[in-house]
């Protein structure tokens, strides 16, 4: 049952990569063409309800997450199979991260953080497939994720600590004359958090994909073509690493912000 679901999702990914490929998926394309959001059917203008390639690949990221976790937890054998080991590794990895970085009392936010991690890692990895669309390369997508984290952390901070949450901005270990200046800096850095949080992920993914396409453009020139193919292969390996590390960084920063909200004292 779980296996059938897994293969169905795999087939769906392959088929949608083949059918809904960008129109100019040939040689000599502009490096930024791959980030164009276009409707799946026809080419009208895009309203909020139009299914686009971004919708498709975000949906596939969710389906892939569900497939991994459902298949991993369906049989629960003592000697785990492949899917079960990966699912258990992912679960244990994120659980340990939440516990270590944000503290024991942050464990009740574990489902949210796990969801964030799995979605981002799946969207990053699916975005690396040829002819697919990297949803996390758009600031619109990552900004929503980061804003949600920001709002959650702020609300949790005020609900948990009341006005004492403002102590986060009042550095009590600093000399008194310095404190107002530090408070100003702390407030600014607090409100810049969602910006840097979202741009870090989107910028990394976008830069990596653009670099891949730039090297792909060099592959059309016969003299440098072998070098460029080697460079693409190396960059692709690096991008697989970056896809994982950026998901890790996004979640670990969420944990750090959560720790600030739960224990605001400096």
């Amino acid at each position: 049952m779980g296996k059938i679901f897994f293969y169905a999702v795999l087939a769906l990914v392959v088929v949608s990569g083949l059918i809904f490929a960008p129109e100019h998926a040939g040689l000599a394309i502009h490096p930024m063409d791959q980030f164009v959001v276009q409707p799946l059917f026809g080419d009208g203008h895009i309203a909020w309800y139009t299914p686009t390639n971004a919708t498709l690949w975000m949906g596939l990221a969710i389906l892939a997450t569900v497939a991994l976790m459902v298949m991993g937890s369906s049989r629960r054998s003592i000697v785990p199979g492949r899917a079960q080991s990966v699912a258990e590794l992912a679960y244990g990895f994120v659980y340990k991260m939440v516990e270590d970085v944000a503290g024991k009392d942050a464990v009740k936010f574990f489902p949210y953080i796990m969801t964030l991690f799995m979605f981002i890692v799946m969207a990053n990895v699916l975005g690396l497939l040829p002819t697919s669309f990297a949803t996390t390369s758009h600031i619109a997508v990552t900004a929503v994720l980061a804003l949600l984290v920001f709002v959650t952390v702020t609300v949790v901070g005020f609900v948990k600590n009341g006005a004492a949450f403002l102590g986060l901005f009042w550095v009590s270990s600093a000399p008194l004359p310095l404190r107002p200046i530090l408070a100003l800096i702390e407030v600014i850095s607090y409100f810049v958090r969602p910006v840097s949080h979202s741009i870090r992920l989107a910028g990394n993914i976008m830069a990596g994909h653009a670099v891949l396409k730039v090297f792909a453009g060099f592959a059309a020139i016969a003299v440098v073509s072998p070098l460029s193919v080697v460079a693409i292969t190396a960059m692709y390996g690096l991008e697989v690493l970056v896809a994982f590390i950026q998901a890790y960084v996004f979640t670990i920063l969420t944990c750090v912000y959560l720790k600030d909200a739960l224990h605001p004292s400096h």
Partner: protein, 78 residues
Amino acid sequence: MEGDIAQMGQFIGAGLAAIGSGAAAIGVGHVAGNFLAGALRNPSAAAGQTATLFIGIAFAEALGIFSFLVALLLMFAV
């Protein structure tokens, strides 16, 4: 003619913004190098600090990404 000079300014600005990527590379290298130096001194304490390492790298790298973003905006959005 005016458009040409404006475009030249965009390209020069984008190239200048790319210096920021190199600066971020120095920062990331500094973080990773110091982590390695500390980890070789006391390997048993290194495993617990990898999360801190990645947070440090992420903060150092974010500013490089910002400069990359400025370059992209100059090239395609202005």
